[in-house]
């Protein structure tokens, strides 16, 4: 499910089935040497999360990406967001990012870190198979949490 009116309506109606929230954490780096890399990361992360959404549409809600630049990064953001999502009825909250900044809070919240793969130069077939490979990395993390309940 996406965070839009029609999907949120079905989420409200099917709350017992949609128990997982996925939050992409995007880092926006505006220094000239890192800006392009930052764009690659954002592109990769959004492509991958939409692919995850497509595969597990009925189980999870993909939140809009939470973006922050270097000075706005705050370790409290995922923690607070997680608490609010738990209150809203999500049993599982996953943060997905390509930025190492968030990995050190991995003990308190579920952070999935993935290396950004530059997708811009690939044709569609390669892109899809890369995303499928990456999805296979993510599925075990989701399913172990889902199995715990």
């Amino acid at each position: 499910m996406y965070f839009n009116a029609s999907d949120v309506t079905s989420f409200m109606a099917q709350k017992e089935f949609i128990d997982t929230a996925i939050v992409p954490l995007v880092s926006v780096d505006l220094t000239p040497e890192k800006m392009k890399q930052s764009g690659t990361e954002a592109d990769f992360l959004l492509s991958l999360t939409s692919f995850i959404e497509q595969q597990f549409k009925g189980r999870l809600l993909l939140m809009p990406p939470f973006s922050s630049s270097a000075t706005l990064k705050n370790e409290d953001l995922p923690k607070q967001l997680e608490a609010q999502l738990h209150n809203a009825g999500f049993k599982h909250v996953f943060f997905i990012t390509c930025d190492h900044f968030w990995t050190n809070i991995g003990e308190e919240v579920n952070v999935i870190w993935l290396p950004a793969i530059p997708l811009e130069s690939m044709d569609r077939g390669v892109k899809n198979s890369i995303l499928e490979d990456q999805l296979r990395q993510v599925i075990p993390m989701l399913s172990t949490k889902w199995a715990q309940i």
Partner: protein, 168 residues
């Protein structure tokens, strides 16, 4: 000089008939074209999309077949890849939509080790038999949808999605 000289009266009447004919045709042709237009129109939605999968390669074991087409959302064009589960049932080729009828996840063939001959939805454990029929007692409420299937130069073509016709 020839005997049948064209008189002034004849010349004028020929010219008038000719010009009048052109004018009448200029008015009637567009009318006619508009009148028969609905017949000539190709049916939107009835488009078959050719896949890269050969008919000869299809076996009784369901395989994933990619289906690429361009989708236009207002001004935003994107290429979308859909998937179909394709297999042979007797002589008939069947292409099932992978979208779970419960809440729209992607189902997988045989990924549940306890039921290797069924479609399985990993979101909420929904199961379907090979013909797409939903297994009672699992969350889905209806059978998997089906693509219309056509052969094109030995390759598989998939058409619009319709309700499952295999489940009686």
């Amino acid at each position: 000089m020839s005997n049948n000289r064209v008189s002034r009266r004849q010349f004028l009447s020929y010219t008038l008939t000719g010009v009048g004919g052109f004018m009448a045709a200029g008015m009637l042709m567009p009318m006619l074209r508009f009148a028969i237009d609905p017949v000539l129109q190709s049916h939107a939605g009835g488009n078959f999309i050719k896949t890269e999968h050969k008919i000869a390669d299809i076996t009784e074991k369901p395989v994933k077949v990619d289906l690429k087409f361009e989708q236009v959302d207002a001004w935003y064009k994107s290429e979308v890849t859909n998937v179909a589960w394709v297999f042979k049932q007797g002589d008939q080729i069947v292409a099932l939509s992978p979208v779970c009828k419960h809440l729209g996840c992607m189902v997988d063939w045989g990924s549940d080790s306890t039921h290797p001959d069924q479609f399985f939805c990993s979101c909420h454990g929904g199961r379907y038999e090979k013909n797409g029929n939903n297994v009672k007692g699992t969350p889905p409420l209806g059978p998997l949808d089906e693509y219309e299937v056509k052969e094109e130069d030995g390759y598989l073509s998939l058409g619009p999605i319709r309700a499952n016709t295999l489940v009686k």
